[in-house]
């Protein structure tokens, strides 16, 4: 493999890793604060992508579609938390698994009812459709760089929000001692709604921005969800910093494996996970 191809693969790996981080951070945030494992998290990624498709064809503007889909995702998040997840706080893990599996079924059926089972695609918005010359012969699409940049901005915003704002303080407090936070007069149910909606929004955001570079097929959510599990398990459940590092590791490992070891490429990240678990059963960044 020559240097320019190596570089392109590295950029692809980082971009995929950052996208995974966007989804995994939502999953790990919801788990860290609320203790809920949302298996339907991947479905929100799928719904985001399909909404982006729907509104792009409707309004002819990706930006408009971006805003509308994001808002709808937030609303869906609030509704799910208020109507369903709220009943799960005092239940065991099994009930969480089953209820969110039920949600996956509902979302998948809705998707195939509204949009059918044929693969769909969204066009890359015109401003971002060009390519940048890396070397004389190798070009790299601007849109992929845009995704990486957007993900980095979101990561920085999350870092700032969690470490520097009042909401972030409540989130951190909720992670370490839920009962105490409640006793200190924080409206915990409101906090939970906000956190869950943010989680859903992050997954949908990933779906929306990746709509132009992936093909929209049924079951795309589950595939992403399982990759996110690998990220979260490697990074340590509940740790956003861990999710960031692990997502990059997984993204890069997955991209290089498909070039260097094509015969085991789809197994590679799971093997990586199994190896890390043997050394550190709690993940890399478990506090």
């Amino acid at each position: 493999m020559d240097t320019s191809l190596f570089l392109v693969q590295l950029l692809n790996g980082v971009q995929y890793g950052l996208l995974l981080f966007l989804i995994a951070s939502g999953l790990t945030l919801v788990f860290g604060v609320m203790g809920i494992l949302n298996l339907a998290h991947g479905s929100m990624y799928m719904i985001g992508a399909y909404l982006a498709y729907y509104f792009t064809t409707l309004t002819d503007s990706f930006l408009l579609a971006f805003i509308i889909s994001g808002t709808i995702a937030l609303v869906i998040g609030i509704i799910i938390e208020r109507c369903l997840i709220i009943h799960l706080y005092k239940r065991d893990h099994l009930d969480q698994v089953l209820l969110t599996v039920g949600l996956i079924f509902v979302f998948n059926a809705t998707q195939s009812f509204v949009w059918g089972n044929d693969p769909l695609g969204v066009e890359v918005p015109e401003i971002l459709s060009g390519s940048i010359k890396l070397t004389d012969i190798v070009e790299y699409p601007v849109y992929r760089l845009f995704i990486s940049l957007l993900c980095l901005v979101v990561a920085a915003t999350m870092y700032f929000t969690i470490n520097k704002t009042r909401l972030g303080m409540m989130i951190r407090a909720g992670e370490s001692d839920r009962a105490m936070v409640e006793n200190l007069g924080v409206d915990i149910s409101k906090l939970f709604t906000i956190v869950f909606a943010i989680g859903v929004f992050l997954a949908s955001l990933a779906g929306i921005v990746s709509a132009p570079i992936v093909s929209l097929v049924p079951g795309m959510g589950e595939h992403v969800l399982i990759s996110c599990f690998v990220v979260v398990v490697i990074g340590g459940l509940g740790s956003i910093k861990g999710a960031f590092v692990a997502a990059l590791i997984v993204g890069i490992a997955d991209t290089y494996a498909s070039v260097l070891l094509p015969q085991i490429s789809s197994m590679s990240i799971y093997l990586l996970m199994a190896l890390i678990l043997l050394v550190k059963p709690q993940g890399l960044f478990k506090n």
């Binding site: 788990f31 494992l37 369903l84 009943h87 239940r91 893990h93 099994l94 009930d95 698994v97 089953l98 209820l99 599996v101 039920g102 949600l103 996956i104 079924f105 509902v106 979302f107 998948n108 059926a109 809705t110 195939s112 009812f113 589950e222 399982i226 599990f229 690998v230 979260v232 398990v233 459940l237 015969q263 085991i264 490429s265 789809s266 197994m267 799971y270 093997l271 996970m273 199994a274 678990l277 043997l278 059963p281 709690q282």
Partner: protein
């Protein structure tokens, strides 16, 4: 001591197997329904093995379908392609090898618990899914085919012909019965008591000197090799295996069936499988989007029926909650 834990279980088991024995006589020649029942019974064995693991030992796995698929693959890979092998000998092979794989997998996944275990079992099952889906020698996405069904002679006696649907149905029914009795005996043994204790309070069980890890590992291996047995029967019935047997939704659906029946009740697995598959069959005929209604049903179930159908039956027959 009776093997039944309560009255409704006793009534249900007697009724189910009595009806099960005679049903082929009423369905004379209707192979569609006989096959359908065989399929659901195989599924019930799988769900029962999962129900033991989840409901009794409290270990929640989302990757049990890995062993279901492995059971089918082990048989298809081991058996010579154009030669009838002995069913009982291969039952032994399938369960032994899958038990050994479960031992290794168990050593990894049982180091964790709770949410972690759910995610890791799911990821490992997905890994084996990709292993078979990507492998050229094991048929990739299309899987492998079973060309010749095994013969079932034992000590020179041969009274089951697996090509015959009704005979195969009786083999499945017998397997389900054996599986039920096996789990009930285990539950009532001292091993089963320790398993109950460590689900109830792991710390106290440790304090009493039991090595939790070993007990969990044994339960995991037993349950997994029975799941593999169910997969083996599946491969025999349909004449093929493919990676989709291991996909996550097979595991998830089985969990739903176990809960529908009443988790940890063992006989509930039979109710759960039949009710779920019955509903599935019914709704599928009404609408192409049956998943929507199944999903809504699952959500409603989790929010309302805490002890499943078994708990409901038990309340009906005036028993205490178990």
């Amino acid at each position: 001591m009776s093997i039944f834990s309560n009255k409704s279980e006793k009534i249900f088991i007697y009724l189910f197997f009595a009806i099960g024995l005679f049903i082929p006589l009423f369905l004379e020649g209707n192979t569609f329904f006989i096959n359908k029942f065989s399929t659901i019974i195989i599924l019930a064995i799988f769900v029962m093995s999962l129900d033991y693991l989840v409901g009794r030992t409290g270990l929640i796995t989302l990757g049990h379908a890995m062993f279901y698929g492995l059971g089918g693959y082990i048989f298809t890979i081991l058996a010579p392609e154009y030669e009838a092998v002995n069913f009982w000998v291969y039952t032994f092979y399938v369960m032994l090898i899958s038990g050994f794989i479960a031992l290794i997998v168990g050593l990894i996944v049982l180091r964790t618990s709770g949410i972690y275990m759910i995610m890791i079992t799911l990821a490992l099952a997905q890994m084996s899914f990709y292993f078979f889906a990507d492998s050229i020698e094991y048929g990739g996405q299309d899987g492998l085919f079973v060309y010749i069904k095994p013969e079932t002679s034992i000590f020179g006696l041969n009274f089951l012909d697996l090509e015959n649907e009704t005979h195969f149905y009786y083999l499945c029914l017998l397997s389900l019965f054996n599986c039920f009795v096996f789990f009930k005996i285990i539950m009532n043994s001292s091993f089963g008591r320790v398993i109950d204790a460590l689900k109830e309070n792991p710390d106290r069980a440790t304090a009493l000197g039991y090595n939790i890890f070993h007990f969990r590992l044994i339960a995991y291996v037993l349950s997994s090799s029975l799941a593999a047995y169910a997969g083996y029967l599946f491969a025999l019935q349909f004449g093929f295996v493919n990676p989709s047997m291991m996909s996550w939704d097979v595991s998830a659906t089985a969990l739903v069936m176990a809960l529908l029946g009443g988790q940890g009740s063992i006989y509930g697995a039979i109710i759960g499988s039949f009710v779920y598959e019955g509903l599935h069959y019914f709704i599928e005929h009404l609408t192409e989007y049956w998943m929507f209604f199944m999903g809504a049903l699952i959500i409603a179930l989790v929010l309302t029926l805490k002890n499943g159908m078994a708990g409901f039956l038990n309340t009906l027959s005036g028993g205490k909650r178990s």
